[in-house]
Amino acid sequence: MAIRRKFFAGLTALVSFVLSGAAQATAELNMRPGVTETSLEAFELHMAVIWVMTGIAVVVFGLMIYSMIFHRKSKNPTPATWSHSTTVEFIWTIIPFIILIALTIPAVKLLIKMEDASDPDMSVVVTGSQWKWHYKYMEHDIEFFSNLATPQQRENFSLEEAQNNPNYLLDVDNELVLPANKKVRFLMTADDVIHSWWVPELAVKKDAIPGFINETWTQVPTPGTYRGQCTELCGKWHGFMPVVVKVVTETEFDDWVAQKKEEKIAAEKAAAEAAAQSWEMDKLMELGKTVYDAKCAACHMQNGAGVPPTFPALKGSAMAIEADQINAHIDIVVNGKAGTAMAAFGNQLTDAEIAAVVTYERNAWGNDTGEKVQPADIQAFKAGN
């Protein structure tokens, strides 16, 4: 009996040690509780299940360890001969059943709440594509792409970068800005493959599926920046398309909307001016390289060699060299190529940018056609399209 008592005392000490350790290090070991009502409830449910499971583990594994110590051959040379007990078996079928029902009830309630996206204050269409997000505010006539802040090229990802940048792989050029305390409905879809939009602190994760629209929602009480990542394997740069949501107060949000609208008008004006000019070769090449490195190099590589056959080479490609293919070249950049990863850039880039990048592709890496494509050519192409 003394040994038995010592054993239990030891076990209790061990369990309490492990638990207190876990409690101190909660921030690193556990799920983040998040900031929304639903995320907090999900966290509570998560903790409840963890404790129930821990309890069951202590009982079951405790019995096993006890048995391994006291029912070994040296301690118990003659084994018992029983091998059946309907009562016991009935009990341990019923008890898990009851525990599961107890867990299911709050889960059902929370699930129904989380899936109720009705009566939103505003709606945002979230479109995933390889490998960026596009946000469109239904009520505000604002839309923009949100890319990883660092261009998606191998050499940009290193241990030093990770150590120097606290938001390594979790930072974008344009955040999704949302007002606090408003019920925001997200309409999720995708252009190419399935992506999944996840922000842990909002407890929102929904797949973005090409050709279908999914619905989810959030209501964030506290301003702040919340970061997440794409969680459905979507190709080569799947790990490099973060989600960043910046929640601001309602007045800040209104200011932001006004500012975005001004920017949009200014950008349209600048684009029109740029398109009206006739561009010199070195200016086209300079802008072309910037655009290429940001938008094209992730697949076609910085040296234009691509990763054939999935991502064809542009260096030496007939389309980028032969003069009679110039329209086909513009077409594929503007409209993309159905059934491949080649996206349509007609709405993502200005006419001047498209002209510059096409020019760049026709003259970089020894393609040297000497041909210039002007913004006016792009306008003409779009007009005749």
């Binding site: 499971m53 390594y168 090409p210 050709g211 279908f212």
Partner: protein
Amino acid sequence: MADHHPTGLKRWLFTTNHKDIGSMYLWFSFVMFIIGGAMAMVIRAELYQPGLQFVDPNFFNSMTTMHGLIMVFGAVMPSMVGLANWLIPMQIGAPDMALPRMNNWSFWILPFAFTLLLSSLFMDGGAPNFGWTFYAPLSTTYGPPSTDFFILGVHMMGISSIMGAINVIVTVFNMRAPGMTLMKMPLFVWTWVITAFLLIMVMPVLAGAVTMMLTDRHFGTSFFDAAGGGDPVLFQHIFWFFGHPEVYIMILPAFGVASEIIPAFARKKLFGYSSMVYATASIALLSFVVWAHHMFTVGMPVAGELFFMIATMLIAVPTGVKVFNWVATMWQGSMTFETPMLFAIAFVILFTIGGFSGVMLAMAPVDFQYHDTYFVVAHFHYVLFPGAIFGTTAAVYYWLPKWTGKMYNEKLGKLHFWLSMIFVNLTFFPMHFSGLAGMPRRIPDYNMMFADFNQLASIGAFGLGLTQILFLAILIKTIWGKAEKSSDKPWDGATGLEWEQLPCPAPYHTFDTPPKVS
């Protein structure tokens, strides 16, 4: 009667002997285990620290894909079929499998299937890179050209599995020795019969999925393409209708192994034999109605999510019964802890940990936070490595004397166990934490906040990988090297026809005349 015992290469090519075929299956699965393991080492090396160090993200995706496919279809499933071949005829008192030529064929398809699959690594555009779950349209419209080799490979594996399953069912229902009633069969036979039914039900579904992929890719159909009126989510429904029973296909035979080994070393009859059988059958039946719990984030109607959540949680009941029965078998037994018993006990404990995280994942509102993170990776590796693979390892140690007539080195066996036990937990336990902290699965690079746990997991993985080389060394030493001869009954608590009526090693042909079953 003298043993008819052909020799040389032809013995292995043309054999219809269940023991030869069983050995080939087991060795084949070990080779695949090493290849799939090497790929895991590439993955863990890349994830050892943040930044892209060794491989291109696309190749990383190929590695996670091929690692999964090879481990599931090449290592775990064939190892279970190997055990079935060796053990089922001996355990039910049959002279061989019912369909020996088909048995030969179902094995010999596999090397070709996997050559086809592995050859994709050397093709333009790289190996399949869309995950072992090959979700459309990433695997159809966007898949690399080698996807077609993958499709053909999966078809061949499927044919092999279906034939293996038919063989088990026909053997068990027709070739039992007189007196070996269904409810007297060893649990390993029971779990395998149920597994075989699962295989026959779902492998054709998988074949349908990959055929639809093929026609979507090349013949103008749009099963999974919304632009043509199809639905990418349809793919996931079909895949997981196969995929969830597949999970049990991999684990049920291991349940059977544990139900043989634990009573043997506790020197006490298995507790609740009939409830074990019914629990296994319930798990198998439930596995057909829970598939969409893998898809809680695809945007199902709430009613659908509720159904799949509740049905999934129900699985915990029969699974719990099995675990309680194993514990009750140990209770007041007279246990010794040789290597097979150590692996079997670790199987029960660690599989149960995988079961706990399984219940957590079943709860849809919280699953939104776990889904597609490392928490899921931790969960299924707990049920597959210390689950299915520890189960097979325990079986190999337990029946090795029966197969070879020689005894493995107990000290080395225990060393193999303890190293595996430490490293398997070091590898997979930290993944729970990186998942909860928010690390998505299938990413080659990550933020510093996930660095510590990834480093631990990588160290664990390298250790776990090296430890399995020790296993290979133990096997070689036992089979071909200097090893102690085994007595006919090396485990005093072992029961069943193979231990009670056959010598060690079992002769090439056994039970030419049916044994008497008491």
